[in-house]
């Protein structure tokens, strides 16, 4: 038993009963549970001041601004960015990618330029680029993966032709748990002068993301997949690039001066944050980062790797079960199918035992097409899961198989 892991009671949601059973949360890849310090931080903002930021001279306004900008500094340290000017608060990963895509579409990319993604991507890292393809004449390329679910680096390299301007890929597949060799891929992309975007939505709660060490140009993540609130995320951008990018959204806060003839945009990071931001979300995110800092990533990975290995071992004994995705390095996520049991039916029946799993395509339909399956059953682990959860899943699974036998 690892002593650095937080006690389960830190997560109030785990104290609830589902159909008479203690909740077993195996859907952290969808969203993680929230620890008490995060809930408290959000509550305190609304209870104590809830003033707007960057506007008011009154004390509550000053305090709100200090808390919001303090959260930006916490986020900067978390991602090891050089400056808080590189930390843009967004509504989440999807929002961050859309923001970047919109900004890039405003003169930064030309018809004939190409964007390279991988077959492992979440819809959030596919559809925004399709919009650029369809409306701006940008070519969209997809690097293939192997039958096991690993990126084909040779094919990836071959697709890196000089007209590729952006390479966007996830650090950790949300559907099958593949860990991508992102540092190597960033270096390959930089050799041809392409910008790189890391979708770290799934990775941030499991592995450290150091943007300077990775040398990526952009990185996006979501608060709610790392113990923070929903509706908040981070877009990291290299300052020299963010300076060049035009705003994606306009309005209050992102301006220095406005006349009906002309507007001067604000400096970074405000240039990309129009309107009243998600202040409570940013404060909650900072609380989540501080919470995460109490557990070394090494311990989280050790814990989750042990759970993945145990799940693979125990599930492999179930007749008719086959794993979807068996990559070289797999983290936090196990996806599988069982003969004659549709994932959705399994999901409903797991719920009878208080077990929350995800059944579906995991917002990665092209990846499902690659494996020629409509959906999978996905278990995703976090630091509050334990060996007993897997034992209960296996017991429940056997009962479910009997229903459809």
């Amino acid at each position: 038993m690892n002593t650095t892991l937080p006690a389960k009671h830190v997560f109030p949601a785990l104290q609830q009963k589902i159909k008479g059973h203690n909740l077993i949360w195996l859907d952290s890849a969808s969203t993680t549970l929230k620890p008490q310090p995060v809930i408290d931080a959000v509550y305190q903002y609304y209870a104590q001041c809830s003033a707007n930021v960057h506007r008011s001279v009154h004390t509550p306004g000053e305090e709100a601004t200090a808390a919001y900008e303090g959260s930006r500094e916490t986020a900067r340290q978390f991602l090891h960015a050089k400056s808080t000017t590189e930390i843009i608060f967004t509504a989440g990963t999807t929002d961050g990618i859309n923001l970047l895509a919109t900004s890039l579409s405003r003169g930064m990319l030309q018809a004939g330029d190409a964007i390279l993604i991988t077959q492992l991507e979440h819809h959030a890292n596919i559809v925004p680029w399709q919009m650029l393809r369809d409306h701006h004449g940008i070519e969209l390329r997809v690097a293939p993966i192997s039958d096991k679910g690993d990126i084909d680096l040779e094919a990836f390299q071959a697709m890196l032709t000089p007209n590729v301007k952006l390479v966007a890929f996830s650090a950790l597949s949300n559907a099958i748990g593949t860990v991508l060799p992102i540092k190597e891929m960033i270096q390959m992309a930089h050799r041809i002068g392409a910008w790189t975007l890391i979708d770290a939505a799934q990775a941030v709660a499991t592995m450290p993301m150091d943007v300077q060490e990775l040398d990526c140009d952009f990185l996006v993540c979501s608060g709610h997949k790392m113990f923070g609130p929903t509706g908040i995320g981070i877009l990291y951008g290299r300052e020299t690039l963010l300076e060049k990018l035009p705003p994606a959204r306009t309005g209050g806060d992102m301006i220095k001066s406005v006349t009906f003839e002309k507007t001067t945009f604000n400096d970074l990071p405000a240039k990309f944050e129009a309107g009243t931001p998600n202040i409570a979300g940013a404060i909650g995110l900072a609380a989540a980062i501080n919470f995460l800092a109490t557990v070394p990533f090494h311990d989280i990975q050790k814990h989750e790797s042990a759970l993945v290995a145990s799940a693979q071992e125990k599930l492999a004994e179930i007749p008719g079960l086959r794993f979807i995705g068996t990559p070289r390095q797999q983290m936090a996520i196990v996806s599988f199918l069982i003969d004659n049991v549709h994932p959705h039916d399994a999901g409903s029946l797991f719920d009878d035992d208080g077990i929350a799993i995800r059944a579906g395509h995991h917002c990665a339909q092209p990846l499902m097409q690659h494996f020629q399956v409509p959906a999978t059953i996905r278990l995703s682990f976090s630091l509050y899961n334990e060996e007993n959860d897997i034992i209960k899943v296996v017991d429940s699974m056997k009962r479910i198989i009997e229903v459809f036998a």
């Binding site: 159909k19 008479g20 004659n340 549709h342 994932p343 959705h344 039916d345 409903s348 029946l349 719920d351 009878d352 059944a359 579906g360 395509h361 339909q365 499902m368 399956v373 409509p374 959906a375 229903v403 459809f404």
Partner: protein, 144 residues
């Protein structure tokens, strides 16, 4: 407490394991796709509707969860031999049966085997599964 296991009544399990009217219908007047991208359920329906507006024959093929497959199988059982108007009326009744608590249809013996779906409303995420093929059929008949 409502158990999801109650959803899987024998008749539903039976029709999901061994669906009736399964396969392609060579002679058809309507070819319909019923897809639920959320869970990947995907069926093709074949209807043979004659000049008088009577559904003479119908089949389906494809893959999906037990609820959607059994629902499609039982739907075809119920509509074969019926007029378009009768099938449309049944669609309205079935929709109420799976969506509304304590619907009149849940007490209506004329719903026959379809009554097996009367508990689906307790599981809002599964209503779409039960109604998938019905909606696809309705979309076509409605415009017929």
């Amino acid at each position: 407490m409502t158990q999801a296991a109650d959803l899987y009544q024998d008749i539903i399990l039976h029709h999901s394991r061994a669906p009736r009217h399964f396969g392609q219908l060579e002679q058809h007047s309507h070819h319909i796709k019923a897809d639920n991208p959320l869970c990947g359920d995907s069926y093709e329906l074949f209807l043979q509707i004659d000049d008088q507006g009577i559904i003479r024959n119908a089949t389906f093929q494809g893959a999906g969860c037990a609820i959607s497959k059994a629902s499609t199988s039982l739907m075809l059982d119920a509509i074969i031999g019926k007029s378009i108007q009768e099938a449309e009326e049944l669609f309205i009744h079935f929709q109420r049966l799976v969506k509304e608590p304590g619907s009149p249809e849940s007490q209506d013996e004329s719903m026959g085997k379809l009554a097996a779906f009367s508990g689906v409303w307790k599981f809002p995420s599964r209503v779409k599964c039960a109604i998938l093929s019905w909606h696809a059929m309705h979309d076509v008949l409605h415009h017929n």
